[in-house]
Symmetry: C2
Subunit: 261 residues, 2 copies
Amino acid sequence: MRWLKFTAAGKTSWGIVEGERVIAVEGDPFGEWQRGTQSHALKDVKIELPLIPRTFYCVGLNYLKHLKEAADKAGTAPNVPDRPEIGYRAQNALIAHDEDVVIPASATEKIHYEGELVVVIGKKAKHLIEANAMDCVFGYTIGNDVSERTWQKADRSLWRSKNADTFKPMGPWIETDVDLDRMETVIRVNGKETGRFRTNDMIFGIVPFLVELTKYFTLSPGDVIWMGTDGASPDLKAGDVVDIDITGIGTLRNRFVKEKV
Amino acid sequence: MRWLKFTAAGKTSWGIVEGERVIAVEGDPFGEWQRGTQSHALKDVKIELPLIPRTFYCVGLNYLKHLKEAADKAGTAPNVPDRPEIGYRAQNALIAHDEDVVIPASATEKIHYEGELVVVIGKKAKHLIEANAMDCVFGYTIGNDVSERTWQKADRSLWRSKNADTFKPMGPWIETDVDLDRMETVIRVNGKETGRFRTNDMIFGIVPFLVELTKYFTLSPGDVIWMGTDGASPDLKAGDVVDIDITGIGTLRNRFVKEKV
């Protein structure tokens, strides 16, 4: 099932995508809901951010190629994680599919994409074990962990390098039925493929993360875990359009523009 | 004015604290509200977490003594910030005044408090300048940035060292009228003073932070910025009660207990 948050005729609600149409729903997928009577052509609705997570988790380094490329650029040896560890991103930075990533006026040309699988939590969960970990997963969406690499090197934390307003596109919708092992993540800039990797080829997969995180954290419905990316990105500039496509979910598309000052 | 989120007779609402009583309010302080007709003795109500911020900002190192003590422990030279930079904490970790901090079963004895002034944002704001920065501040509360120092050293990020469930007590209420330059932060463990510093004796104060952050971030009503701490903490153990008192706001009190496994 494919859950879309959308606006049509001035009203924002959840809906279920079926083919090229969206069926409006009363309520929300994390609680009580029922299918409504109205439907819209998908192309006619405004796609909204699926949700604002209570806690916004993000894995930093979870694919070998990305790790090695980052180490090569820094002139260091790759420091491969020996256990699942998590970081955070900031809610202010979230935008929806088709909304513009605004490159801050003071940013350098080192603006990069990172195409990521996003796990959406559906249930309150703590102290999960391997056998039941996946029960707390509601579905999956796509994230673009936009990064300003000059700031990423210069700053003490990832504050502005990864969390400037609009740096976290997420969407277009939440898909509940996927086959993780058959997924590929494909990134295109202005329609030309610039990256491709097996989505589930992670150093630590979803289950080890859920087990490790919930030793310490209670996950809540609507929390998201961005699972990291593989490969590297070319420098992006104003006018570029980045598509992140993940098999079985769909395509997250955002245009990059320059901040007006 | 002193805004309290509280529960009485099964109903949770905002209220205004006047002396030893709380007057119930309809609505909330960030939007429309009006004084209700009901009031309660403060001692009879359950004090709730004032809010769950959309984005949870926290300054890492913002006082000279704390910075020097941290550097001494690490055997390094103090690395004094040359500009205001921010980090984040996680919403899952928030608890209210008088709720228990649960020390995870796998934690070491290196459990420390950090008493912090918390700035509560009242208005949407971006690109603030020095002259108008304080206009976006709604009020102030108190935070205890509980930390597990062994994890803080061992891990790649501050994930479990600072964000384990219950590690972020915040409250007891939001005070809108304070005199920053007359504030002292006093910490007591089991009633005995263990720390004291001038609250506004920061390396970078609230205005420089608001100006710098809003170059990149839109602040939203209910966002919080924890402003860092000075000094060091003794090792805390199950049964300890930590009071953080800030002049003109009040006292945030929490008991530490051990996780039952």
